[in-house]
Symmetry: D2
Subunit: 363 residues, 4 copies
């Protein structure tokens, strides 16, 4: 259960990593939106592994097919079926783990919850599950772009202990684009930091280890008034969305955990006139107050753990409790954060489009 996200713009995903197909049904998309497979393919392409040496070499073309809900290039208001067939199936690579739950993977918990699990590749807990989200997110983004010129840009702000310096407000306003982010294979727009991150990832990969990182996301032109108090505050929905992404371990908005170390007199965001609207001088709130967007850029960060699959041998136990040594064969992704960037953007788009539609009945 719970493969559905959203209240008015509802996305239901399906598909195991090594099954026949993965995909999503998007229900509640407004009619008369111009939509083609190419619109969706762009983000799917950014999500795909094998884009650089930094990532897993598994070759996935991930071509999306629109099965329904669109005619003559326009949405009909009916459910949009999105399908991506699985081509590169290599179940053999994983066969060794039938009796050994991989440490920090979901083998053990799926087996305990369901009494069964997909025989290979992580099934629904695999990163491949996110294809449906990214495809649906691309539809959501089109709506946000066309109606509000709303932009969502995520980037890698740290890899392991390498932190990119804080981005200036001016850059946030203008220069932070997906193009700028994609200039580096590690998807960090700050050159010096990016170079260090790449070096760390390569070194980690060569040591057959993995490393974690943080993705920062910035949304501009977010209309004032989004978010549904009290349980579906904007930040609460974003937190749920982000923590639903595989491998994520934390979420913070605005000042976040650093804000917990501050005094109110430095943390408060005083109001100030910004042209015809009221804005805030600082943005420790990260674009929300009381669970509702305030018109400032939405800024939040998502922590990702190091990938659980590593080539280094690990002392662990079989399902029966017998001690064994386990070392993953083949090549694996040493760091997920570059590929997590479009996934974070997609989940953000799904949250925002739903909130936009839910707010619209009030005006």
């Amino acid at each position: 259960m719970s493969s559905t996200f959203g209240t008015l713009f509802r996305v239901t995903t399906f598909g195991e990593s090594h099954g026949k197909a993965v995909g999503a049904i998007v229900d509640g998309c407004p009619a008369n939106l111009r939509l083609s497979e190419a619109d969706i393919q762009t983000q799917l392409h950014r999500r795909r592994p094998g884009q650089s040496d930094l990532s897993t070499p598994r070759d996935e073309t991930d071509a999306v097919k629109i099965l329904s809900g669109v005619e003559g290039g326009l949405t009909l208001g009916t459910p949009i079926g999105l399908l991506v067939e699985n081509r590169d199936q290599r179940p053999g690579d994983y066969a060794q783990t039938a009796d050994i739950p991989r440490p920090s993977h979901a083998d053990f918990t799926y087996q305990m919850k369901y009494g069964i699990r997909a025989s290979s590749g992580g099934g629904r807990s695999s990163a491949r599950e996110t294809i449906g989200r990214v495809a649906a997110g691309a539809v959501a983004e089109k709506i946000l772009k066309e109606r509000y010129d709303l932009s969502i840009v995520a980037y890698v702000s740290s890899v392991g202990t390498i932190d990119a310096p804080a981005i200036s407000t001016a850059t946030v306003k203008k220069d932070l684009t997906r193009e700028a982010v994609d200039r580096s294979p590690v998807r960090c727009p700050q050159k010096a930091a990016a170079a260090k991150m790449i070096a760390l990832i390569e070194q980690t990969r060569d040591r057959k280890d993995s490393v974690g990182g943080v993705v920062t996301c910035v949304c501009r032109n977010v209309p004032v008034g989004l978010g549904e108090p009290v349980f579906e505050k904007l930040e609460a929905e974003l937190a749920q969305a982000m923590l639903s992404i595989p491998a994520s371990k934390g979420f913070e908005i605005g000042s976040g955990f650093a804000g917990a170390r501050m005094h109110g007199s430095e943390h408060n965001d005083p109001f100030v006139r910004k042209g015809s609207r009221l804005g805030t001088r600082t943005n420790n709130s990260g674009g929300v107050q009381g669970g509702i967007s305030n018109g400032e850029p939405l800024v939040f960060r998502v922590a990702f753990k190091p990938p659980a699959t590593i080539g280094l041998p690990q002392q662990t136990a079989t399902f029966q409790g017998k001690e064994v040594s386990l070392a993953a064969k083949g090549r694996h992704d040493p760091c997920v954060v570059p590929r997590a960037v479009p996934i974070v953007e997609s989940m953000t788009a799904l949250v925002l489009v739903d909130m936009v539609l839910r707010q619209s009945y009030r005006s």
Copy 2:
């Protein structure tokens, strides 16, 4: 909208800070649970302001009345109506702010979203809204306690820059109780740190400022298998629940943001036999893998910003954009984290009881 939380155990809260009453309807509570007003009053009492010098002196008795759903001390399986009348109404204290949206409060965003807002005290964005959650959470906790002896204990792990040292695994296992937590008015079970926190809060209060902090929550005896992939992973639901609490800015589970700085070889939790069950040697996962509980203690942290209401004067603007200086009159809570402890526990209970009921149909 969105004053309802949960799928099978559904809580709907209502009530403005300075209106007639606040409360909650709990729908989906199993029948034949022994339940009295006293069961609920205990946690409401812990949530109440005015418990020590550290907190706001507003005297709220917060006596809960059960309106429905219980007969002869047993739940009927029907909706449980919970009502707390508001007694201490002092709208005058806030009247000055009619034209001035308080910085980092929800005055501005509520006004923009709804075109109207409660004239005093924050309305639904007030901490008083959490009474309904705490009352409902007390019902949830009873179920978890009776069925699984599941225990939920939260405590203050930092105030401003004062961090309590990490609690040892042994303490987590045995000595971390609500009684131990409540021994200190700041609700930090570690004496030395507690003393420093109290000093910082008093000093902050005397300076008419406020300060943030972090609450850590530990759940023991969580059954394996809770959590609903993919969008309602256990950590995703917890993240939503925590970010829906007023003033929260961040959530992390297990290793959290620190985990993003680690390598897989140190972060992975290898499996090991623990008596008759399979456990993990370390708990960087914080009790979840792939969105499903794994039987280890659930450990997560929630960041709270410093309260927005401060006595210090702030340069800000009116709704019309005119610059003004604003300083809150009266006494205000300089730090919310001690009172946030039972709220974090209650929201945790609401997440867990819903997941327990949702899992039950599988067995």
Copy 3:
């Protein structure tokens, strides 16, 4: 569970027949709606028993209190708490039935489902549960009235075998008002039929028996485009709403069961220009096509069984299967349909307001 109705305009009801109170929380009501307790009281008064000799003499004042969500006579956009305290509690009247499940009542099924049940008066299965619906429906009606001048009028179209003649289209258009309906205590606007219905009810009451009936509901000025294919078609939501009313056994829209006996050539509603809009010449569709309102009056009928509580002795069995004779003491409602009229209207309003809000994001 399932005491909540609606997607955007969400109503949660609570309360047992003989407990402390009954009521509802309305979440998602648009802000800035003018609303007072008097607005709600009118329909509650129409729902109340004891309005005429035809009904049960139980005296219920049913005074509603607004607990939250309204300030200065305007809705705030936050949950509206509605409370009606129970005054006339006479549990003794029902005590005999502790061991005897009353035939065609819910005693047996509640006991089997929950393992417990309210000790008297039917608990949640009592007609008293509908107070929350009617209170919430009154709020919904205000919105529909103000935005669309939408009118909802229900009336009694048959009692037992007494059928009121079909109402002409002209009457539907103009003369069918609540005032016209309320002129007769049986709430049938057609005098001759009303007289016969009254005679039948009185005779039934004197025989200590009960009798069923049908309520017809007509909605005018329903905007085109309401209803959410495929599972939440307008008629599907109405059907659910009507069959959720205690004692209802059937629902039909437009031609209904009679339509199943017709040929397409007589049943189809051809299009015809009606002023500036396209309408249909006939209205066998009852105002919906493909699950979506078409601008014609919404017309549907709801069948109610005879009340299960009768003074006549019945041969039945105890929970343990022992044969017994059961005869209800005191006076009971011999026919529910006159009082069902405002309940049908209220549930209709709840369906329509939710559909109106859900449709609004498309425009």
Copy 4:
């Protein structure tokens, strides 16, 4: 929106009549259920047009493919993707109607609601949309069969003015099987009535007209306790499910509209010991009391209007209000009720399986 049905067993359908594919995602199906495409194909085959001369000759093979959620013949507990590709696309047949909304079709309302509509064949309002429901219903039925030996059998009880005689209780208990129903192409198990129905349909078809009918559904071995008061009573959910089927106009359970004509003394179902359980002597309740199943057979009826597409010329208007004559070309289904039988069964299975899972957490 609203292409999703169910709370724990959730079905989301997609697909236009003449698009690439139709199908469904089933989320929340318990794991370890034995499931193959053949299990689903049987009911799809019964739903298919072209099974006899009585139906439309459009040849649809409707072969279902399981895309996900099943491995090695067992469900994984993850979403089950079900896909049926559309083969027989003949958009030309319908092209004439671009400017003419077909009377009593959904052309007009879809156009008004969405501002666009599928160019041919009815899009989502077509009977073809029900393929997803039937496929999902077949999964639901397997669970009900395996856990409770619950059987769901629907049959045609009237066509136009031809009524099959009431089926005896004994027959309901034993002889009413799908095999018995399918012996006649009109799916009426009573030979004499079936012959008259067939004659009426053939005569109607030859006159290029259409005719309505009624489907009766009987469920045996329904466990006591299903249904969620107050808004999701078992009969309320069934009513919604049935009225969501294309062309349905009415629903009644047990005595239904006839019950509204009765007295309580004849309508009440007295309790009587039935072996080890308590049952009722009569079943005017149709298997539910207070919205909860009581262990007696569930019996309800669904009215279907005559198909809107007829070969006879109709005087109607274009979207612009211009009068025109319209006559459908080609051959069309003169009566939908025989094909509605498996659809009614499928929707019933979806309601019951969801209620079974929702009830399970109480035991």
